[in-house]
C-alpha cells in the first residue's frame, strides 16, 4: 500500500487525515509521478483538501509544543523530497500516541523524529548564514539590493530580521534560484515580489552586481573600503584557510563583496 500526494504541505497533512480516516498504514508516501516501488499493488492518490489539512494542523497544535511545530515548518522549507516520508510518519506517530505518554517530539532515538529535527537544523543553519553573508549594494534611488541563492528556501525565515534591523531604509532581497524576492519600502511590511521578465532586471543574477548606471555614486568606494578592511584585519602569521572555508563555504562567495 502506497499513498501519493501532490508535494504540498496541505497535501501531506491530508494524507495524514486519510490514513486515519481509512484505517490504513501505507508503507510510504510518494509524490505523484515518482517511480513506484517493486511489487506495489495498491496505490491511493491523496486529493489535497484544505479543510482536512487545517484539522490535522490544529490537532498537532494541541499535541506538540511550539518549538516542535516550528521545526516541522522549518524542515518543510528545506525542499528536500526525501523528508516527505519521515515527516509524514512523524505526524502519524504524534496522533497514534497515548495522551499521557511523554511527547514524541524529543525522542531522538526515533528515526523519523531525528530525521525531521536534523533537516530542520540544517535549514536553520542556512538561514543564519544568510543573515551573516547577505551583502547589500545601494542604488541611485536609495534602495539597497542583495541577491542570494540559498540551498533551502530560507527567505521567509530571515525577512523579519532584516525588516527589524533596516527599518528606515528601502531594501530588496532576491532569491535568484527560486525567482522571487521580498521588497521593503522603508515602512510597513516587506512584500513578496516576482519579475515577469527576469532578464530585464537592473542587476546581474550570476554575481548580484547592480548595473553601473543604477549604482549609487559612493558605493564603489565603500565596497573598496570594505575589501581593504577585510584584507587588513587578517593576521598573516595565523593564516588558516581550512577554518575560513568551514565557516564560510565557497558556494556563498559569489555574492559577497569581499570575495568578488
Amino acid at each position: 500500500m502506497v499513498y501519493t500526494f501532490d508535494g504540498t504541505m496541505d497535501g501531506l497533512l491530508t494524507a495524514v487525515f486519510d490514513t486515519f480516516d481509512r484505517h490504513e498504514q501505507p508503507e510510504a508516501l510518494l509524490t505523484t509521478g515518482d517511480a513506484l516501488p517493486l511489487f506495489c499493488e495498491q496505490v491511493y492518490e491523496v486529493i489535497t483538501d484544505e479543510e482536512k489539512a487545517r484539522r490535522v494542523w490544529s490537532g498537532m497544535e494541541k499535541r506538540l509544543s511550539r518549538e516542535a511545530l516550528k521545526l516541522i515548518t522549518v524542515g518543510w522549507l528545506s525542499e528536500i523530497s526525501a523528508l516527505n516520508n519521515p515527516l509524514y510518519q512523524y505526524i502519524c506517530k504524534v496522533f497514534r500516541q497515548d495522551a499521557d505518554a511523554p511527547s514524541i517530539e524529543r525522542n531522538f532515538a526515533d528515526p523519523d523524529v531525528l530525521e525531521v529535527t536534523n533537516i530542520a537544523r540544517k535549514v536553520l543553519h542556512e538561514q543564519l548564514r544568510m543573515k551573516q553573508f547577505i551583502r547589500f549594494q545601494k542604488a541611485k534611488d536609495g534602495t539597497y539590493l542583495a541577491v542570494v541563492s540559498p540551498d533551502h528556501n530560507v527567505l521567509p525565515l530571515i525577512i523579519d530580521h532584516f525588516a527589524d534591523r533596516f527599518r528606515d531604509q528601502p531594501w530588496m532581497i532576491y532569491d535568484a534560484r527560486r525567482h522571487y524576492g521580498y521588497y521593503y519600502e522603508g515602512t510597513g511590511h516587506p512584500v513578496h515580489i516576482t519579475f515577469e521578465d527576469e532578464s530585464a532586471v537592473p542587476f546581474n543574477l550570476a554575481d548580484g552586481k547592480l548595473n553601473e548606471d543604477v549604482l549609487s555614486s559612493d558605493d564603489q568606494l565603500l565596497q573598496n573600503l570594505w575589501r581593504t578592511y577585510f584584507k587588513a584585519i587578517c593576521i598573516r602569521e595565523r593564516i588558516n584557510p581550512r577554518k575560513q572555508l568551514s565557516d564560510m563555504p565557497r558556494r556563498y562567495w559569489k555574492y559577497m563583496t569581499e570575495k568578488q
Binding site: P102, I104, R106, N107, F108, A109, D110, P111, L114, N118, L128, K131, Q132, F133, I134, R135, F136, Q137, K138, Y144, A146, H161, D164, R165, F166, R167, D168, Q169, D218, L221, L222, N224, L225, W226, T228, Y229, F230, K231, A232, I233, C234, I235, R236, E237, R238, I239, N240, P241, R242, K243, Q244, D247, M248, M256, T257, E258
Partner: protein, 429 residues
C-alpha cells in the same frame, strides 16, 4: 567626504587593531526601534565574514588613532615602534560605520584607541564618537568600546550609556611580568576601570528595578584579554585569573591571544617563529570547561600540572587522571556527569537527556543521534551486554590510563604539540 586617503588610514588603523581578539557581538538582545537603524540579536551574535586567518569579522574593529604615549613591549603600537601612524576623524569613522552597517557588512563597531596626551583626552574623543552614533545617526546596533585606563569616572559613566560592552585588557596575568614588559602600567590601572564599570552596571540594575525605563548601562557586560606566550606565566596563572574574573558579576568573556612576535628587537620578549596556537586553543577549551561544563579551575590545573597538556584537550586529560570516576552510565547519569565524559558536549548531553525519557539508549542510538563515540566509548556504559566495535568491554578501568592515552591522541595532534614544545624550548634558553 570619504576619500582614497580614508582608505589608506582605515588600512593602517585596522592593522593596528587586529591583535585585539575580542570580536563577539553577543550578550544583549535589543529589537529595532522606530526611527533608528539596527538591532542586536543576542545568542552567539552574528559573524558577517571570516578573514583568511579564519577569525570571525563581526564588528568593525578599528582604532581611532594608533599614536600612543605608552611603550608596552608586547604592543605593536608602542611609542618606540617605527610604524605608519594615522588618525580617523569623528565624521569619517561615524560614516564608515553607518555605511558598512547598512550594507550588512558588520554587526556594529569595536572602537579602541592609542592613548594620546592623557587618558581623559583620549576617552573624551571615544565617547564623542559613540554619542554621535547613538544620538545623531540613531544607530541601534552593537557597540564595543575599549575603556582607557586612567580615564575619569564621569567619562566612563557616559560611555556606558552608549556602549553595549566595554573592555579593558589585562594582557599579562602576573603583575611582575607586566611590570617587566610595561613599566608604566600595573594591575591596579586595569582593575580600577573594571571596578568602576561593574559599579555602574550594578547601580543601573537597582535603578531599573525601580524605573523600568531607566537607560541600560553596558548591557552586554565586560570582557578582557590575556596574551599567551609572551612571558613565562603558566597556564595555571592564566586560568586562575580567568576563574577569579568569571566570579565577578559583569565579566562575560576572557579572551586569550597567542603572542605574535611583533617587536622582535626587544630582548625582554621571546622570538617565536609562529604564535603558540595549540596552547591558545587548549586555554579556550579550559575556559569552556569553566563556563559551561561545571569544572573548577583546580580540577584543570594544579601544582603537579601547572600547564595544560598540548597533546589532548583538558577534559580528556582530567578523565585520564581520574579513572575512578568512570564508567558513566548513559541512561542514568546526571547532566553534569554526562558533560564530564570526553567527547560529549552540551549538545550531545542534551540529546541524551531528552531521548532517554522515551527508551533505554544503546550505542547504536547514540551513533544515529550524531554523538561522537571515538573518545567517549572508553568512558561510558549503555544498555547492552555484548561487546562490539562501538562499545568495547575494555574501557578506561580495564585498559588503564597509560594504555588508553596513545589510543586517544592522533599522530597529527602529537606532531603539532611537538612542534610547539620546540618553540617554547627556544624561549627557555
Amino acid at each position: 567626504m570619504l576619500t582614497d586617503s580614508t582608505l589608506e588610514r582605515l588600512r593602517i588603523l585596522a592593522e593596528s587593531a587586529k591583535y585585539d581578539v575580542s570580536c563577539s557581538s553577543s550578550g544583549t538582545v535589543r529589537r529595532g526601534k522606530q526611527g533608528m537603524v539596527g538591532n542586536t540579536v543576542g545568542g552567539l551574535g552574528i559573524c558577517h565574514s571570516f578573514a583568511d586567518d579564519g577569525r570571525c569579522i563581526s564588528l568593525l574593529k578599528v582604532m581611532l588613532t594608533n599614536y600612543c604615549m605608552y611603550d608596552c613591549a608586547y604592543c605593536v603600537n608602542r611609542r618606540s615602534n617605527d610604524i605608519k601612524r594615522a588618525t580617523l576623524s569623528v565624521s569619517e569613522l561615524v560614516s564608515i560605520t553607518m555605511e558598512f552597517y547598512r550594507r550588512n557588512y558588520i554587526e556594529g563597531l569595536f572602537l579602541s584607541s592609542g592613548v594620546v596626551r592623557n587618558p581623559d583626552y583620549t576617552m573624551e574623543r571615544l565617547v564623542a564618537i559613540v554619542r554621535d552614533l547613538r544620538t545623531v545617526h540613531r544607530f541601534n546596533g552593537y557597540i564595543h568600546l575599549k575603556s582607557i585606563p586612567g580615564a575619569s569616572q564621569e567619562l566612563l559613566n557616559e560611555a556606558g550609556l552608549y556602549a553595549d560592552r566595554m573592555s579593558v585588557n589585562i594582557e599579562i596575568p602576573r603583575e611582575e611580568s607586566l611590570k617587566l614588559l610595561a613599566p608604566e602600567k600595573d594591575h591596579q590601572s586595569v582593575f580600577q576601570p573594571m571596578k568602576l564599570i561593574q559599579q555602574g552596571v550594578l547601580e543601573n540594575k537597582e535603578d531599573r528595578r525601580r524605573y523600568r525605563h531607566a537607560p541600560r548601562f553596558v548591557p552586554a557586560g565586560q570582557s578582557t584579554q590575556m596574551i599567551v606566550g609572551a612571558t613565562k606565566d603558566s597556564d595555571r596563572d592564566i586560568l586562575t585569573m580567568s576563574a577569579a574574573l568569571y566570579n565577578q558579576p559583569t565579566i562575560r568573556r576572557v579572551y586569550y591571544s597567542g603572542y605574535i612576535s611583533v617587536n622582535t628587537y626587544d630582548t625582554r620578549l621571546p622570538v617565536l617563529k609562529q604564535p603558540p596556537l595549540v596552547r591558545e586553543n587548549r586555554l579556550y577549551q579550559a575556559d569552556w570547561l569553566l563556563r559551561f561544563y561545571h569544572f573548577k579551575v583546580e580540577e584543570i590545573v594544579d601544582d603537579l600540572h601547572p600547564n595544560l597538556e598540548l597533546e589532548m584537550d583538558p577534559k580528556l586529560a582530567w578523565a585520564l587522571r581520574h579513572p575512578e570516576a568512570f564508567p558513566i552510565d548513559i541512561n542514568t547519569a546526571d547532566y553534569e556527569w554526562l558533560l564530564r565524559v570526553p567527547g560529549l558536549g552540551t549538545k550531545s548531553a542534551w540529546l541524551i537527556i531528552n531521548a532517554r525519557r522515551a527508551c533505554r539508549l544503546t550505542s547504536e542510538h547514540l551513533r544515529k543521534m550524531g554523538v561522537v563515540l571515538k573518545k567517549a566509548k572508553y568512558f561510558i556504559t549503555c544498555h547492552e551486554l555484548t561487546s562490539s566495535t562501538l562499545q568495547p568491554l575494555r574501557g578506561i578501568n580495564e585498559l588503564g590510563p597509560d594504555l588508553l592515552r596513545p589510543l586517544l591522541v592522533s599522530p597529527h595532534q602529537r606532531k603539532l604539540a611537538e612542534q610547539e614544545k620546540q618553540l617554547s624550548l627556544n624561549f627557555e634558553n
